[in-house]
C-alpha cells in the first residue's frame, strides 16, 4: 500500500524515467533491432496513431462497455444473493455447498461455454464478466450484511418495517461502505476478465487490438495498447479509491477484515 506521502517522493520516479531513457538511448544507438520491441518514442507515436484514427476510443469503449455492463449485471445478482444470505443464516447454510462448488470454477473455463451459447460479441463477454464478479460481490456483501449491528435490525423490527423497507432503509445504508469496497475490487476483476476474453476469443476491444497489432508485427502498437490498458486499470482503481474516501471516509477502511 502506498502511504499518501509516497506519491510525491521523487525516488519513485527514478526507475520508470531511467528505464525509458535507457530504452530510448539503446534504440537510438541502433542496438534495438528486435521485431518484438519498440522504442518508447515509437510506442508514444503508435499510441497517437491509434488515437488519431479513432481505434483507441472505439476499442476502449468496447472494452469498458462489456466490463461495466458485466459488472452491473453480475454485481446485481451478487448483491441480491449477498443480502439474502446475510440476513437469513438458514438460507446461507443451505446454499453453502452449492456456492462452494460453483465458485472455484476459473473464469477462463467458462469462456468456451458462453461462446457456444452466445457466439462472439458483447453478450458473451459481459456474461463471462458477470459470472466472474458475482462471487466477489456475493461474499463481501454477505459479510457486510451479516456484520450489521443487531440493534439496528431490532429497531427496524420495532418500527414495524416490512422486509423491503428494512433492506432499503436499514440494511443497505449500514452495509454500503463495505459494499462499495466490494464493487471497487470487482471493477478491477471486470476489466481483467474483459481483456482476457478479448485476448483469448472475442474479436473486439483492447485485448483484441493487442492481438491484432502483435500479429501484424507492430510492436509499437502492441506496447501502446498494453500501456493504455495498464493506465486504464490504474485510473479506474484510483478513481474508485478516491470516491470511496470521499463518500465514506474511514467507514470503508475495513478491507483487512472482510
Amino acid at each position: 500500500m502506498i502511504r499518501p506521502g509516497w506519491a510525491l517522493d521523487w525516488r519513485g520516479a527514478v526507475i520508470p524515467v531511467g528505464f525509458l531513457v535507457v530504452a530510448q538511448a539503446v534504440s537510438l544507438l541502433g542496438f534495438l533491432t528486435s521485431d518484438n520491441l519498440a522504442a518508447p518514442i515509437d510506442i508514444a507515436l503508435g499510441w497517437w496513431e491509434a488515437v488519431a484514427d479513432g481505434t483507441l476510443v472505439m476499442r476502449t469503449h468496447e472494452t469498458l462497455t462489456s466490463a461495466l455492463a458485466g459488472l452491473a449485471f453480475g454485481g446485481s445478482i451478487g448483491l441480491i444473493l449477498g443480502v439474502v444470505f446475510g440476513l437469513f443464516r438458514v438460507v446461507d447454510r443451505l446454499m453453502t455447498l452449492t456456492v462452494e462448488a460453483v465458485r472455484p470454477i476459473p473464469s477462463a473455463a467458462v469462456i468456451p461455454l458462453f461462446m457456444m451459447i452466445f457466439g462472439l460479441g458483447y453478450a458473451m463477454e459481459l456474461s463471462i464478466v458477470a459470472f466472474s464478479v458475482c462471487w466477489t460481490i456475493l461474499i463481501l456483501t454477505r459479510a457486510a450484511v451479516a456484520g450489521i449491528d443487531p440493534p439496528l435490525l431490532e429497531v427496524s423490527r420495532a418500527l414495524g418495517f416490512g422486509f423491503a423497507a428494512r433492506v432499503w432503509k436499514i440494511v443497505l445504508p449500514a452495509a454500503l461502505p463495505r459494499i462499495f469496497v466490494a464493487f471497487r475490487l470487482a471493477a478491477a476483476i471486470a476489466l481483467i476478465v474483459a481483456v482476457t476474453v478479448e485476448v483469448a476469443a472475442n474479436p473486439q476491444g483492447l485485448g483484441y487490438s493487442m492481438m491484432f497489432a502483435q500479429q501484424s508485427l507492430r510492436p509499437d502498437l502492441t506496447f501502446a495498447f498494453l500501456v493504455w490498458i495498464g493506465l486504464l486499470g490504474w485510473a479506474l482503481n484510483a478513481a474508485l479509491l478516491w470516491a470511496q474516501r470521499r463518500l465514506f471516509g474511514r467507514a470503508a477502511m475495513v478491507e483487512a477484515a472482510p
Partner: protein, 254 residues
Amino acid sequence: MIARRCLWILASLAVTAALVGLWQHAADARLVSPAFLPSPARAWIALIDGLQQGDLAFKLMSTVERMIYGWLLASLLGIVIGSIIGISRTARAYLVPTLEMIRPLPASAIIPVAISFFGLSEGMIIAVIGFGALWPMLLSTVHGFQAVEQRLYEVGRLLGLSAWEVIRKIALPSAMPDILAGMRIGLTVALILSVVGEMMASADGLGQWVLFAARAFRAADLYAGVVLLGVIGFLSATILGAVERYLLRWRVTP
C-alpha cells in the same frame, strides 16, 4: 454441536442434490436446448468416459502440472525479490511506486507480448503464468516485510545477526501470513492463466479440451472439462488453506 454441524452439511448437500435434480428435469424436458445444457447424467458419463478411455486424465495432469510449475516459479521469484525490496527502506522508496503502477495491469494483456517473444509455445504459457502470479506474491511479501515490527529488527541488530539471518529468523516468519495470502491469490491466477494459455497455444490441457469441445458442440465433454477445472480450483484452494492453517498455527487467532 458437531451433530448439528453435520446436519447442516447434510441439508446443504440435499439442496445441491435437489438443484442437480432440477437441472436433470430441465434437460429431460428440453426446457433448454441440449446443445447448450446437457443433463447432469450425460455430463457425468462424458466425464467418466473421458477419464477412463479418452485422454481427459492426461489433459488434467498437464493443466495441473503447468499451473504448479508457473506458480512455483512465481512464488520463488516473488518471495526472493519481495524480500530484497522489503528489507530495505531505500529499495522500497525507489521500487514500490513502480510496482504499484504495474500491478493493475491485467496479466492476460501480457499474452500478446509473450507470444511475440516465445511463439505459441509451452514457454509462453509458463512465462505468462509466472508473470501474472508474480505480482500478488511480490507485493504481499514487500507489504509483509514492511509491516514487521521495527523493534524486532533492533533486536536482530543487538544480537549481531547477519542480513540473511534477519530475513530468515525475523522478517520471513513475521511476514508469513501476508506471503501465504499472496500465494493463495497467485494460485487462482495461475489456474486461470494456464487455461487461457492452453486455449491460445493449443497446448495439451483442459483449456484446450473445453475449447475444442465447445467448437464441436460437444456440450457434455465441455461440462466435464469445466467440472474438472472447478475441482482443481477447489482442491488447490483447500490444500493451500490447510497448509496455511498448519504453518500459522502459532498465531493467536482473534
